[in-house]
């Protein structure tokens, strides 16, 4: 599905990602794990085209490398970004409408479906998104991304800044999405939770992939897990 080859990302003179390659197969949930500053978000930004990068990015055999942000989204990539970035001045419903902007038909049905899935969003459909709680905003950000009916969903730190109880809810929701067959690339600092959902994981540090493997192999590697979770 998504294939990344020798990706390098620069922020000015700083090389944030130093030539990584990985792929996400259809229906898989793949995690990019690693500490702060490892290059996880830079990788995501390169995939969406927001950050300048070298290397090749292909989605379903389509080369995305030279396409602008909007075209990549239309090709089937959707992002729930770090920090959620819901449109605070727009209502919940308007946020979802924008998410489905390039969907021609069935927009209203699609929105209604999300309100059924998350009754709390339905209750607050006319409320400004900025007034929602962090967890609700995260749900909205994911729902907004899925309104585009993407081939692959990029989730950047969905658990960031949320209470543990809410984090569990969010991960449950991601699990449900995966069970429905959604292909997911998950970026997380919360390695334990992320590995529970993932089929495969890559561990990034300093802009390089330092370890990779199935969730079971990585999860059973105690030294690695201790490093990842910060428990030594």
């Amino acid at each position: 599905m998504l294939h990344i080859e020798n990706l390098k990302v620069f922020h000015g003179p700083i090389e944030a990602v130093r030539g990584i390659s990985f792929s996400v197969k259809e229906g898989q949930c793949v995690s990019l794990l690693g500490p702060n500053g490892a290059g996880k978000t830079s990788t995501i930004s390169a995939i969406t085209g927001v950050a300048k990068s070298t290397g090749t990015i292909t989605l379903k055999n389509d080369d995305l490398t030279k396409l602008p942000v909007e075209s990549r989204i239309c090709k089937g990539i959707a992002l729930s970004p770090e920090g959620r970035r819901v449109f605070a001045n727009l209502s919940v419903e308007e946020n979802l409408r924008l998410g489905g902007a390039h969907q021609k038909e069935g927009l209203a049905d699609c929105i209604a479906e999300w309100f059924d899935t998350f009754p709390i969003l339905g209750e607050r459909r006319d409320q400004a998104a900025g007034t929602l709680s962090g967890g609700e905003q995260q749900m909205l950000a994911i729902a907004r991304a899925l309104m585009a009916e993407p081939h692959i969903l990029l989730l950047d730190e969905p658990s960031l800044g949320l209470a543990p109880k809410i984090v569990t809810q969010i991960f449950k929701m991601i699990g449900a999405l995966k069970d429905k067959g959604m292909t997911i690339l998950l970026v997380e600092q919360n390695a334990t939770q992320a590995l529970r959902l993932s089929d495969y994981a890559y561990l990034l540090n300093n802009g390089r992939i330092v370890a990779e493997g199935t969730a079971e192999t990585l999860g059973s590697n105690d030294t690695l897990m201790a490093e990842l979770t910060g428990l030594t």
Binding site: V50, L79, R85, A88, G130
Partner: protein, 298 residues
Amino acid sequence: MEYIAQQMMNALSFGAEYALLALGLAIVFSIMGLVNFAHGEIIAVGGYTMVAMTSLALSNPLIVIGVAVIAATFASVTLERVAFRPVRYADPTTGLLTAFGVSIVLQNLFLLLVSPRPIAVTSLYFLEWPIDLGSIRISSLQLFETITTIAVIIAMTLFLRRTVLGLAMRAAALDFEMVRLTGIRANRVFAAAFMISGLLAGIACVFIMARRGSVDPHLGFDPVLKAFVACVVGGFGSLPGAVLGGFLLGAIEVAMLVMLPQSLGGMTDAFVFGIVAMLLIWRPEGILTPRREKGDKQ
């Protein structure tokens, strides 16, 4: 009583003109952080189009108005494409300098290619009819101006609330990158912003021309300066703020014209800007400051 009603009508029509122009400035600013000082030249394009139409012996006022508004809209979209698109993601200062540059180039083009002198346009005669509303007498211009502006504001509100492009423009004021990340093309949003801005300038141009009766290369300077002040008073980048600021400025201006003694007549603007300065001491960021926080709650 009648005198007060008459002056309120004056204030409304002054305010309507400022509100139209301020809204045009604010919609571009809210999206790309650009203070478009070339807005005045868009108005002049409309004015010169009217001159051209008249010299082509087309004097039907509806056609003249229609073509002038279309010309202004087209000019605005062209400026975006030619001048502002290349500096879109550059530093705000670069955009500001570009706007000044465009403004100077256009003014000099009018000077060289047309004439530095005012040229009269007479085809807007139907905006000079007096209308009696009970005991007060207003000009048809005031009535048209107020009604048109109200209609424009309603149409804008519907556009910004109901259409996807309108929603995208509101969202873009907060987080443009995220709008692109929903798959909406940035070019479309920018072009739409300039198109609306030009359309509003074109409509305002009709009223400015009806009031002044002639066009010269600096036609738009004064109105846009006032519109800029209206934006600042209302809260720069806020669309409702621009409208509010426009009407407020119109009211202050008419109040000063009425209340100042004859001998201080030439100082009206000084007093108006003095009051504006005081307003800004009270609310340094304008009355309706747009919220700038990104999605997450702070």
